[in-house]
């Protein structure tokens, strides 16, 4: 295969991994909010931070592979 295809496969893997991770973060955050609605603000902040970290990781990998 051409190198470009390998790159695309890698990008796909990264996106799958990041998608699973984001789903976990979002789902657990929802659960947390449902359990403790009064902690919504704190949970959201933590969720956004972790999501951003994950996203940074994914983007970093995508750009390094490019």
């Amino acid at each position: 295969m051409e190198p470009v295809t390998y790159n695309l496969i890698g990008a796909g893997l990264i996106v799958i991994g990041a998608g699973i991770g984001l789903g976990q973060i979002g789902g657990k955050a929802m659960e947390g909010i449902a359990r403790q609605p009064e902690a919504t603000g704190k949970i959201q902040t933590a969720m956004i931070i972790i999501a951003a970290l994950l996203e940074g990781l994914a983007f970093g990998a995508l750009f390094l592979g490019k």
């Binding site: 956004i48 931070i49 972790i50 951003a52 970290l53 996203e55 940074g56 990781l57 983007f59 970093g60 995508l62 750009f63």
Partner: protein
């Protein structure tokens, strides 16, 4: 005050009216700069993501079949083999593939993909190798007032103007009026939601100025990047690297004894593991943290620009299969929703960058005056802060 405001408004209005008159319109041969095919779209987007040496607003083909570029040139300042050389970017005539060679002080310069090359003595044209790298030229250190530098200057002056006016309002009254009323809650937001909780009541005052500047700088430039002006300042690796290095310097310089102790000689772990941990911690503090900061901002903004421009380009690329109306409609709907998401991302990235900077600074200045709790086996119970530190 009223007169001043009026004066400012009329000045802005005059600028808006006269700016197009002062911009230069350069004509090149027809076809050049037109974007129609998929390859050209890709090239155009990649070109946009890079910095550019002139400020072009739009271009069109006039009745005589010539391409007209409307915009204004910016000064080029390069550090060549014979010292500083300056000229206006209009001398390149919008050429970006090394076709136009500018001679200044006996040196020849060519612009290839937004990079300025100094040609070797005696060369008259740029020669390329198979991978389209210039073989007879070297890259020069480019201190030009590029589009990004221009953007930084404009936004910096705008911020200085807005916030110093807000500051002077407090001298006369307790509650600001006008635009200050919009800015005050934002300032309070950064102070109370980002700076204070992450750095701690004792130290936050020292760093709030930096965090506020960075927050508004990134946010405003992200938003400006979404306008048709076509700035891509926060999508420049050099700018985000510069911001990340500022944060690195700040938290390295202000780190206290506890912080360095946790890096070099982590308390509460077996002695043998401590040197290994020290290496990991040191790499994390000096390389991974700033790298994640700079790549995150750069990648998000670049990706946003790529997606938005690709969706706009649907207008040309799908013209044949969907028809003019269909392609334009699809492009409009998709790019509209992506633009909304990008507006959120513009804020989110500014928030994340500031938040993480505050977090890192907070970890560096945190005082561990409390003894770590030990569990039944004599191991240290993980502290919330340490756990948080491990994840970042």
């Amino acid at each position: 005050m009223k007169i001043f405001q009026q004066g400012f408004k009329s000045l802005a209005l005059a600028l808006l009216v006269f700016l197009p008159a002062s911009v230069f319109a350069i004509t090149t041969a027809s076809g050049e700069g037109e974007v129609d095919t998929k390859m050209e779209v890709e090239d155009y987007i990649l070109h946009h993501l890079k910095d550019s040496h002139d400020f072009s607003l739009f271009s069109y083909t006039n009745g005589e079949g010539e391409r007209v570029h409307v915009g204004f040139p910016l000064p080029v300042i390069v550090w060549s083999s014979e010292g500083l050389v300056t000229f206006m970017s209009s001398e390149f005539h919008h050429n970006d593939d090394g076709g136009v060679i500018v001679e200044k002080g006996g040196l020849k310069f060519a612009k290839i993909h937004s990079k300025i090359y100094e040609l070797e003595q005696g060369a008259t044209t740029v020669s390329f190798d198979a991978e389209h790298h210039a073989t007879n030229g070297t890259k020069v250190l480019d201190f030009s007032i590029t589009k990004s530098v221009f953007g930084i200057l404009v936004i910096g002056l705008l911020m200085l103007f807005w916030f110093s006016r807000l500051a002077s309002q407090y001298k006369k009254k307790q509650i600001p009026t006008g635009f200050g009323r919009v800015l005050e809650p934002l300032v309070l937001y950064v102070r109370d939601e980002i700076s204070r909780p992450n750095i701690g009541e004792k130290h936050y005052r020292r760093f709030t100025g930096y965090l506020l500047t960075v927050f508004f700088f990134i946010w405003i430039l992200n938003l400006v990047g979404l306008t048709p002006l076509g700035f891509n300042v926060t999508g420049q690796l050099a700018v985000t690297a510069c911001l990340a290095i500022f944060t690195l310097v700040i938290y390295t310089v202000s780190g206290n004894k506890d912080y360095w102790m946790h890096i070099f000689w982590m308390p509460g772990v077996p002695i043998l593991i401590r040197p290994v941990l020290a290496i990991i911690e040191l790499a994390g503090a000096l390389i991974i943290k700033p790298f994640s900061l700079l790549v995150r901002l750069f990648a998000n903004i670049s990706a946003g620009h790529i997606v938005l421009m690709s969706l706009i380009a649907i207008m040309f690329t799908l013209k044949e299969s969907l028809g003019v109306v269909g392609a334009t409609g699809l492009s409009f709907v998709l790019s509209f929703f992506i633009l909304l998401i990008e507006l959120l991302v513009a804020f989110l990235q500014a928030y994340i960058f500031t938040m993480l900077s505050a977090l890192f600074i907070g970890m560096a200045v945190a005082e561990h005056d409390h003894e770590h709790e030990h569990d039944a086996h004599g191991h240290e119970a993980p502290d919330a802060e340490d756990v948080r530190g491990d994840f970042i």
